[in-house]
């Protein structure tokens, strides 16, 4: 159920916070990358905690943030860790090597951390499950965890490669992909994950507005780590714990790559084609999700 308080706390608050944070950090440092990273991390985390506060109150939400209960609580850690590789990459060749090693490690860590302890990867110390389970074999675990990691590494690479090309368009398209993902997740039956993607949408929309207003020459590539950790994390949760189809998750991941990543940057038609491909992908996934939703009613 989407409520007014949900829109205010999970949408308006992170959006306004992203605008304020990005503009403030930009004024203080004139560092576009730092401005983007700070705005994305601060706004997404505050939006997540604010959503929790709706149900249990502010104090309980703060207490909940400190003790991890559900897999989605690990998103905080993942989004914060996502900052470090891109920040380290600016320290010469050695920094870039370390950054890539960290990125690969994080891309492997994300699916494992979110799925560990679930029916797919049960803990050895867990209470024995006397009912049927869907625990993965070693080969299945390698297939899924490795596959997700490879897709994530690919997305991260094309985000970084897009650094100097059409930052404002990429920012706006990335926010639109997050919005389409939020709608798709909600139509697929998970309000919780739809709201989390809504927080990311507001965060990216706020950052895009502030970035355009401040004429920053960087886009979502500057905060590739936190954005990808949040986006991929919610998609992984929604596919494995809710009813998001793999096809929709794949289309959304592809749309994110087209929206924010490298896309024939040297060509004049790149901007138009990037926008068109992105819109077609989003249109397809939204239409399919709507058809499923309507059929289930």
């Amino acid at each position: 159920m989407i409520t007014l308080s949900g829109i205010l706390w999970g949408g308006v608050l992170p959006g306004v916070l992203a605008i304020g944070t990005l503009m403030s950090v930009w004024k203080l440092t004139h560092n576009a990358a730092s401005s983007w990273r700070t705005a994305v991390v601060a706004s997404f985390l505050v939006g997540m905690w604010a959503l929790d506060a709706i149900g249990v109150g502010v104090l309980a939400a703060i207490a909940k943030a400190l003790r991890i209960q559900e897999a989605k609580d690990f998103l905080t850690l993942l989004v914060i860790l996502g900052v470090f590789p891109d920040a380290l990459a600016s320290y010469g060749k050695q920094g870039r090597i370390i950054a890539w090693l960290l990125r690969i490690g994080l891309c492997l860590f994300l699916p494992w951390r979110l799925l560990a302890g679930s029916i797919y990867l049960p803990k050895a110390t867990a209470v024995p499950n006397p009912f049927n389970t869907s625990a993965w074999s070693t080969a299945e675990a390698i297939y899924w965890l490795g596959g997700i990691a490879i897709v994530l590494i690919g997305l991260w690479a094309i985000f970084i490669a897009a650094r100097d090309h059409a930052p404002r368009l990429r920012s706006a398209l990335t926010a639109m992909v997050a919005f389409a993902a939020a709608v798709t997740l909600t139509l697929s039956g998970s309000i919780t994950y739809g709201q989390l993607m809504g927080v990311l949408t507001a965060t990216l929309a706020g950052s895009t507005i502030a970035s355009a207003f401040g004429k920053l020459e960087r886009g979502p590539d500057a905060a590739a780590g936190p954005i990808l950790m949040a986006f991929a994390g919610v998609l992984v949760l929604a596919h494995f714990f809710a009813e998001l189809k793999l096809l929709y998750a794949a289309l959304l991941a592809l749309a994110l790559g087209v929206a924010g990543g490298w896309f024939f940057a040297e060509q004049k038609w790149s901007v138009i084609l990037r926008s068109a491909v992105c819109m077609i992908l989003l249109g397809a996934v939204l239409t399919l999700a709507w058809i499923d939703f309507a059929a289930a009613q």
């Binding site: 159920m1 679930s118 209470v127 499950n129 009912f131 919780t192 809710a242 009813e243």
Partner: protein, 196 residues
């Protein structure tokens, strides 16, 4: 004389073996066919929606002479939730409520047991134990009313219990859609165990 002695031994053994009365520290396995876990929750204050969990397993050790030695262990398949509406059940299994792919089991493990008699003269076991729902473990006291100890249809020894308990779902991290879907859940569990 020797034959009479042997017959007496056999007779005593048969009497003891066929006794319907449970003895100290008996092990019981839950009979799923005669175990029900049902619950009721308010829908926006208009009505109560009732549901059940269809898959339950467990066992218990019952020491009627020394109740402190008794133990109760119950495991419920959270994914077996059934409210008579498949679409709602799917939503209840999802991350907005039970998140059963992450938290497939609801478990109870007793830590402390005592017994007393109620006004009707029935034995009531006061059990305190760890109840885990949605990945959150809380120590909760429950009262298990011993309904009957006796012989089943196949001559097996059975005991049966009834338990009624009110839980607040937000205490277990299930905070979505409160208060539209009520916070307080009325749970009734009745189970039979077959002596092993």
């Amino acid at each position: 004389m020797k034959a009479l002695f042997l017959h007496s031994i056999v007779l005593v053994c048969l009497i003891l073996a066929s006794s319907p009365i449970a003895h100290a520290a008996d092990n019981y396995k839950l009979d799923p066919a005669h175990t029900s876990v049902i619950f009721g929750v308010s829908h926006m204050g208009f009505s109560y929606t009732y549901g059940r969990f269809n898959e339950v397993a467990g066992n218990y050790i019952l020491d009627q002479e020394n109740p402190a030695n008794s133990q109760f262990q119950l495991t419920i398949n959270a994914g077996s939730i059934d409210t008579g509406n498949e679409k709602r059940d799917e939503h209840l299994r999802g991350p907005d409520f039970f998140n059963v792919k992450q938290f497939p089991l609801i478990t109870f493990q007793s830590k402390q047991v005592s017994a007393s008699k109620n006004e009707a003269g029935e034995t009531v076991y006061e059990v305190t134990g760890d109840l885990t729902i949605h990945g959150v473990t809380r120590s909760v006291p429950i009262s298990l009313r011993l309904l009957k100890t006796g012989e089943g249809m196949q001559g097996e020894t059975r005991t049966g219990f009834l338990c009624e308990k009110h839980l607040m779902r937000t205490e277990y991290g299930m905070t979505n859609m409160v208060p539209a879907v009520g916070d307080e859940i009325a749970v009734t569990i009745s189970f039979e165990g077959v002596k092993e």
